[in-house]
C-alpha cells in the first residue's frame, strides 16, 4: 500500500477482508503515503483526504457511505485479521522519512520490515501495488 488517500485505502480494506474470508493469506505492506495512514493519530483523523482529482465527490461519497453503514477501511482490516490470516507490515524507511516511531503505529500493525521481507512474502502470490 503506497497511496495515502481514502479512495485507495477503502479498496485495500475491501480486498483484504474479502481475501481473508476466502482463506487467502494476506500480507499488507504500508509504505510512503500509505504508511502515514496507519499511525494511531491518523486513525483518529478519519476519513483521510480524497485524491485531488475527485475532491468534489468526497463529501457526497462519505455521506453515502455513512448512510450505507459502510465500515471505515481500517475496521475492514481489523475484521479481516479476526477472521483470517492477515499480517500488516510497516516500512522502516518510510517511518524514518516521516519521523514515525513503532509506538506511534496502530495496534493492528504486526511488524516493521523492509522491501526484502515484502518481496519474500509476495513471491508466488497475487501482488497489488495500490
Amino acid at each position: 500500500m503506497f497511496s495515502g488517500t481514502i479512495d485507495k485505502l477503502i479498496p485495500v480494506g475491501i480486498l483484504a477482508s474479502g481475501a481473508a474470508a476466502s482463506g487467502y493469506e494476506v500480507n499488507l505492506f504500508f509504505t510512503f503515503w500509505g504508511l502515514m495512514n496507519i499511525t494511531k493519530k491518523a486513525l483518529q483523523n478519519q476519513p483521510s483526504p480524497i485524491d485531488k482529482n475527485y475532491e468534489q465527490m468526497g463529501p457526497m461519497m462519505i455521506k453515502k457511505m455513512q448512510e450505507m453503514k459502510y465500515p471505515m477501511w481500517y475496521e475492514l482490516i481489523k475484521q479481516a485479521k479476526e477472521i483470517g490470516e492477515v499480517k500488516v507490515y510497516a516500512c522502516s524507511t518510510s517511518m524514518e522519512f516521516f519521523g514515525i516511531k513503532r509506538e506511534d503505529l496502530a495496534d493492528f500493525v504486526d511488524d516493521v520490515v523492509g522491501v526484502t521481507t515484502f518481496l519474500d512474502k509476495a513471491e508466488g502470490g497475487i501482488t497489488l501495488f495500490i
Binding site: 475491501i14 474479502g18 474470508a21 487467502y24 453503514k69 465500515p71 475484521q79 477472521i83 483470517g84
Partner: protein
C-alpha cells in the same frame, strides 16, 4: 427436495460487499460440520461472491433462491 434442517440463519440484508462474505465466513464456524447455514442477502454481489467463497473454502452450496430482491443461500459446512 427433502426438507433441509437449518442450524443457523444469517441475515445480512442491507449489507454490501464484502460484508455478506465476511459474515458468512464467521457464521460457518459457528455451526457444526454437516449442519446448514441459511444466508439472507440483498447485495447483488452476494450470490456470485458466496459461490466463489464456497469454491475457495471447500464448503457446499445446497440451494440458492432469489425472491423480491432477497437472495437466500443454503450452505452446508463440510469441513
Amino acid at each position: 427436495m427433502a426438507e433441509i434442517k437449518i442450524a443457523k440463519t444469517l441475515d445480512v440484508r442491507g449489507m454490501y460487499c464484502p460484508g455478506p462474505v465476511m459474515e458468512t465466513a464467521k457464521a460457518i464456524k459457528e455451526i457444526g460440520i454437516g449442519e446448514v447455514l441459511e444466508v439472507l442477502a440483498t447485495d447483488p454481489a452476494a450470490r456470485p461472491d458466496i459461490e466463489a467463497w464456497a469454491r475457495r473454502t471447500g464448503q457446499q452450496i445446497l440451494d440458492i433462491q432469489q425472491q423480491e430482491g432477497v437472495t437466500r443461500i443454503l450452505i452446508k459446512r463440510v469441513k
